[in-house]
Amino acid sequence: MDLQYSFSLAKLWSICGAQVIMLLSGLVLLFVEIFYKGKSPERRLSTIGWLTTIAMALALGHVCNKEWNLDEVVFMGAFSMEKFSAFLVAVVLMAGIMASILSIGYLKNNKIYRTEYFLLLAFAVYGTIAFVQAVDLLMIFITLEIMSLGIYCLAAFLRDDRLSLEGSLKYFLIGSFGSAFLLFGIVLIYGFTGEINLTKISSVLARAPFQHPMVLVALAMIMVGLMFKISMVPFHMWAPDVYEGSPSVVTGFMATAVKAAAIGVFIKVMAVGFGPVLSLSGQPEFYANALLGALGAYWKPILWWISLLTMFFGNLIAVNQRNVKRMLAYSSIAHAGYMTLGILASNDMGRMGVLFYLFAYTIMNIGAFGVIYCLDGQERHAQTLEDYRGLGYKYPGLSFLISLFLVAMAGLPPTAGFIGKFYVFAAAIRSGYLLLAALGILTSVIGAYYYLRVVYMLYMKDPVREISIPGVSVSTAVILIAAALAVIYLGILPQGLTDVADAAQKTLSLVF
């Protein structure tokens, strides 16, 4: 064991506090789940759901309650908590809170009273937080698996439903395939450098010839492993089936939290682990230098094509979808493409744009899936475009909310989606990716077509069949309305969040 990292409980609490809270409350919930009988299944479900929510809220409080500019941000070479991680942890916890509150209503609608759901969600959130905070490749792999295992089970939670089981199995098989790539990359980089800590890897790479084929293969493998989770285009095949099959709220969670975490780790690995020249020159250079590292020449052209393919493929195939969940699955692939643009730009504005985009995307996507579950009533009861015809007059509130979220995803002002896209594209243009940005804007015009088609169906078509939905619970309504207000607020006054995101991306160098 390496003794240069001293262990102290205080440090564990200050750096990994959110994880500790989630893990402990997950363990407590295990026993609550066993011993708490409750008056009725509904009461039991909502009690455990709210307990999970409170645990996540406590963790979020721990993250937000502190100014993360300590000198020591790394815990035992395994976890770090600088502002960058704190931002992503906050996004993940926000997604978790929204998902767990929406889940209570969702499970009641579907008459599923198995409360293991919330345990799985709590542990999945724990894994996701740890994944974001990890600065050690082995820890990245382990936490990725914790996160994924929770999500695999959640995806199969409608266990009498064929599509849900099919999606979960596909996710499991392809997810394991992706993890194998990541692990093989880690093995190669460990074989070459003898280190698994990101900062140590970069300092070894700075001394050694980093153009060595083994390093490049390892870089490619690690990138591929993470791209499976982000669902970038050659590695996206699982996404539509999984997103369509899973319970709507779980889809919302995995389209946002998992994606946010994977993109955060992607940036972290690229900027910290494979930025060898930067680590030699030290921190000030890091701020000034626009490039993520000398290896950029190798991964940037690849990412250029992947970004282009992701944007085109996601948007073009979404046009042809009749199922709204499946359409949103393809749209989430397209959004991954826009975010890749920000990573590719790799300047301050690009990274800030990606963080902003992740925040906005989390709110609007979970909001959209929340409305989808409300309109659905029971899962797969009404989720095709035909079912949405004419709902705008029968359910004006829900229709307005989903229209707002979809308009935000299409990137129209004055919504948060527009600001996010603006920053990402502006950063790409500033870094000289003019053609890619132009093509990206073109694809987002294609995107507007299928987003607005849903709005068109809602308000301008006559219904073909009667859709009746059970009442929307107060907590769900509050979450959806809060999300809608946030989308509009961030679209009009983005300054607060951009400042936070900018401060967050600047602290990436503190991991050194």
Binding site: L3, F7, L9, L27, F35, G191
Partner: protein
């Protein structure tokens, strides 16, 4: 490729050892095949049978629970090997192992309470 010669040698040696063992057992061992002996696994589920059939979920539950303890052993072994270094951490090292075992214990209690190892 510094340091990788050893790995290549190791892989080569293990390949040779496997082939050697197969060869020796082929030469020396008696050959009396029975249908049951010819299957891939001596225990566990049959390898080839119709996919839509009833099977015992208990078998897989026990398998998963066994895996947990198997991994626990594997992960605690290195601590024994590095105990002297770990002892310098004081209570920290103890706490690490304790947390690990406590999490597993909570899982086990959960499994027992959920009647995962009751047979009917």
């Amino acid at each position: 490729m510094s340091g990788f010669e050893t790995i290549v040698m190791y892989l080569g040696m293990s390949l040779l050892a496997i082939l050697g063992m197969l060869l020796i057992s082929h030469l020396l061992g008696p050959f009396r095949p029975k249908p049951r002996k010819a299957t891939t696994y001596e225990c566990g589920v049959p390898l080839l049978d119709p996919s839509a059939k009833r099977y015992s979920v208990k078998y897989f539950l026990v398998g998963v629970l066994f895996l947990v303890f198997d991994l626990e052993t594997v992960l605690i072994y290195p601590i024994a090997a590095k105990f002297k270094d770990l002892a310098q951490l004081g209570w920290g090292g103890f706490l690490e192992i304790f947390v690990f075992v406590a999490v597993l214990l909570a899982g086990l209690l959960y499994a027992i309470e959920k009647r995962a190892i009751d047979w009917d």
